[in-house]
Subunit: 172 residues, 2 copies
Amino acid sequence: MTTLRELLIEELQDLFHAEKQLIKALPKMAKAATNEELKAGFTEHLAQTEGHVTRLEKAFAALGEPAKAKTCPAMKGLIEEGNEAISENECSPVLDAQLIGSAQRVEHYEIAAYGTARSFAESLGETEVAALLQETLDEEGETNKKLTALSETVNAEALAVSAVELDDDEKE
Amino acid sequence: MTTLRELLIEELQDLFHAEKQLIKALPKMAKAATNEELKAGFTEHLAQTEGHVTRLEKAFAALGEPAKAKTCPAMKGLIEEGNEAISENECSPVLDAQLIGSAQRVEHYEIAAYGTARSFAESLGETEVAALLQETLDEEGETNKKLTALSETVNAEALAVSAVELDDDEKE
């Protein structure tokens, strides 16, 4: 039978993989974004994500476990959806709106996974690990809030270009 | 080029598929759970999820669009992970802890997707659609909070059986 400690290690392996995939995806998202604030946000989150990887390495070390990544099909799916949106669409405020939606799904995935891992660590009395995970959890929550705040402007820009597009269609 | 309205419809199709998958998964999760409160919670959320499907149908109708489901690979992955945990493990508090982790990933996925769809609807001035999505979003948030509250008890139960397991291993 699996133990709670093994579940914690699996969560960390899953998150390790997720963060590493995100490090590959964020530069593409930053490159594709037209809204300057969104572009800067993705770049900033890349630096933060590198810090999340370091914290996970510390958490593995605190548990005396090797830092290992385990593929999570769901997170892989989320990253692929973002990549597809980028390759199938021109850069525009509508793509920006799509990228925010995609990034918020990733953030929420991480919020759920870090929350679960932190609660396992707490129950196991692994306070150092729990504190490391909480730090990252707080940052993911902040990033998600920033994306929500930014979505209002970006949606308005997307609506404006959508209206122009519809107008052009009518003229054709 | 895609318009903001098309993005909204895609989000609704994605959520329609997600909720329908969840309707199939929740009875299995309720059956597998050993903690009575968790079992009841999954059953209660099943009834709620059926209501979410109805609200999505109303949202499609308000937009004059057919209610259609679009497979989302990420959500499919999340549901499969839960199913695998159930088929590979015996019913126990450790599986309960795993099921809570799995359910919270699903809830967070939905929170992100409903949040995005609601903000698209608001920007488009589709106030009826936005209100329908907000109602479900609130319920998903409540479900997530209940799962967090329950995880403390369930983790303690999981830790207790993990300790017994380790003790038995030492005696062998």
